[in-house]
Symmetry: C2
Subunit: 456 residues, 2 copies
């Protein structure tokens, strides 16, 4: 049977597949930091060459930001698009890494072999599972399984500023029957999952300006506005004592969970104590009238992701700084409108400012939540394929993260998207010592071969 | 008349006096940053050599931190001690300086010539006014005016950790009739002042620890504790809507101003609008039932001098950090007890922490306020001498800053202290582009010559 031959080919080719991934991981393609612009281009070029070696017509396509990789290959009635991203998160604080984040290594751990390095899971390791499945298929069959478009972005970790214009300008070229996205996780270590609810994301940066220069807290303290204190007071009000977010109209468009989904989530063996216990915590801090799984998958958040101002070096400096800064993000669900929330948040901050201070805003993008239409038969086909590989049924789950691309495919290309990924909760994506389990890389590649066999 | 000869000598020697000050300002003696340890020692050595050239027996005396400069000279029944500090504040943000902070220069400005550079006012320029007065006296008389002890510290800007032990260990050597301290300012551009009330200072650094590592805000946001958000909520509560500080027992020991002092302050032509307007502000932000002069001179404060956590670079990173940090200081007045306030502040923070988070503390020292005994006749003598130099009576004023040394002289050496300085409000001490007016340097030196003539 040809699927068995493809799976067998994946097994024997694993060492070479791993070498290819390590090569890609050595390119520090941090999209948010302009210092790494050339490295992002290099990662795109590397993927173009790899896709060409599989018989794709592939190109690195320029944008005002980092390039898009677009490749076309295969033939047939069925047309699948695969999406992933080759950019990675920054690596600071570097001191918390056990090794150079861009000198990846396969390491033995108590839980098995892991691929350690920035992007190993998010998303280079995940996107390579699909490419490796195609490679094995090509080796066995001499052709790709069906008509395939590969679409790899380089700005996913920095708000995807070029994505929508690129999709709009190339809509006819990118349109397929369905989009496959590999940027999510397993439900637990051994249960595969298809993510059908994704939170949206809105990113805002604020600078509060008070005095025209830094002041001495002895000469001015007590009379002159301190922008750090003002920032703390305003952002300290983001959530009330019950964990509810206090910005006016914030919950507009947030619906209660449908009973069917609620019942399915309750049947999942989600270990709340372990989830927080694994990272040294014990108390779910969100809305106190919600379960942690609801907090993560179906409720919106307001978080401060960065704050800075005044003297932050060794020792002490009795300064009242001229400015204080924060980066604030919101995870959105249901029909919450990112633009409206941006406006309401800004007005809410400005209403709390002393009249002689001002706030300067910088937008880091925004996009609403996505809820997939799981009645498309491709979902059930993929669910069965995943179940065959992992030995237990795949779950339809929610996801606390934001992969706005899923919604964009619907909005701009009128395509459904299917989110299938093989990350584990302890992958430490966006954190020091990110890893991807070798088992996930291997079984992920095998899973895609099975899914392609069902869908093609 | 010999005083005239001394004053005349000061006038003709001004260019050389300026050269000496510029040489001292070129030494980057930032005491709070360990990277500048050797520079602090170099500044101490420079002063020892200068004092020796004036006939003092002078030495750089080691401490566990930066050295103390102690010098003895002159003779007679009257024994005066002079205190200043040779260390300076850090210089960041460096981008806001118009020139290298340690490449000082005399510049022409609309308000006259200024000496621009870190420490030009606080405190190298100020301490050199006393040394230059001694130099001129020696040149004219061949001797110093009386028995003099010079005591120069190198840790004033970093909490003075070695000061009390050094004073205790050398109490007999340092004890004099009265201490003269030159680290304060004029009341306004042309009115000399003797500072008789100084606020105390307590410095605390806090780190809130939440998760055991940085988390992805998509995977954990809404359920896991965010230490920045917790920090903002707690520190946002430091003051209430009326500007009152909310820490329990914070106002214990804060007395109302005596009527005599209140009347004298009301007679001072303090321009509240100009005071804040000069730094781009208009609204006094402290206790709303107090005048700005009270806020600055006789009321306590709670300020955040530094805050940091999460991602603070370019772009955006959706991280929930493991830690968040703040540096908080309190200006103390009257009989407020620094140790009690430290304990109450820490308990107040800890009571607001979620049970699965913890706070780590670092003390940056603390000392109470000082109120001088102005019935000592030396105060009236100095007030008359200052009036003669500046052409208008000197004022007894308060000071928002903290010069704990004044209290230490009382506590550990049973000496009164007289605070006389020549800084102006726009000197930008602790800020970029610090300056000292050449007029202040010149008339300050002349003022000390007149005061020495009265007191000796």
């Amino acid at each position: 049977m040809t699927l068995d031959a493809v799976l067998s080919r994946i097994d024997t080719d694993l060492p070479e597949a791993l070498d290819r991934l390590l090569e890609l991981l050595r390119i520090p393609s941090i999209s948010t930091d302009p210092a790494y612009k050339a490295d992002c281009a290099r990662a795109a070029d590397w993927l173009v060459e790899d896709l060409k070696s599989l018989g794709f017509e592939a190109a690195s396509r320029p944008t005002p930001g980092h390039p898009m990789v677009v490749a076309h290959g295969g033939s047939g009635d069925k047309h699948l698009l695969f999406y992933g991203h080759y950019d990675v998160q920054p690596v600071d604080p570097l001191t918390l890494w056990d090794r150079d984040p861009f000198d990846p290594q396969v390491q033995d751990t108590a839980k098995g072999k892991v691929i350690r390095g920035r992007g190993s899971s998010d998303d280079k390791g995940q996107l390579m599972t699909f490419l490796e499945a195609c490679r094995a298929w090509k080796a066995v069959h001499g052709t790709l399984p069906c008509k395939l478009t590969i679409f790899l972005e380089g700005e996913e970790e920095s708000g995807s500023p070029s994505l929508i214009p690129f999709m709009q300008a190339n809509a006819a070229e990118l349109k397929a029957d369905i989009a496959l996205i590999c940027d999510t996780g397993l439900f637990d270590d051994s249960t595969p999952a298809i993510t059908t609810m994704l939170r949206g994301l809105l990113g805002e940066e604020m600078t509060i300006h008070a005095a025209s220069k830094d002041l001495h807290s002895g000469s001015y303290g007590g009379a002159a506005a301190n922008p750090i204190k003002i920032l703390a007071k305003i952002l300290g009000n983001l959530s009330d004592a019950q964990g509810h977010i206090t910005i006016p109209h914030f919950y507009d468009g947030v619906a209660e969970l449908p009973d069917t989904i609620r019942a399915q989530w309750q049947s999942l063996s989600f270990d709340h104590a372990k989830f927080l216990g694994d990272v040294g915590l014990s108390i779910p801090i969100g809305e106190q009238d919600r379960t942690p799984l609801e907090m993560l998958w179906s409720r919106p958040t307001a978080e401060i992701n960065g704050i800075w101002g005044g003297y932050t070096g060794d020792g002490f400096k009795t300064v009242l700084p001229a400015q204080a800064h924060a980066k604030v993000s919101f995870r959105l669900v249901g029909d919450q409108d990112a633009d409206a929330i941006r406006d309401n948040f800004r007005a809410w901050v400005e209403a709390q400012l002393p009249a002689d201070c001002r706030v300067e805003w910088k937008s880091h993008g925004g996009g609403g939540a996505s809820v997939m239409a799981i009645d498309d038969p491709a979902f059930e086909a993929a669910r069965l394929a995943l179940g065959a590989e992992w030995g237990k049924p795949a779950a339809y789950i929610g996801c606390g993260g934001s992969i706005p691309i899923a919604g964009y495919f619907k909005t701009y290309l009128d395509m459904d998207a299917m989110l299938i990924g093989f990350g584990r909760d302890d992958d430490q994506i966006h954190s020091p010592n990110e890893k991807y389990d070798l088992e996930c890389f291997h079984k992920g590649t095998r899973s895609w071969a099975r899914i392609l066999a069902k869908l093609a």
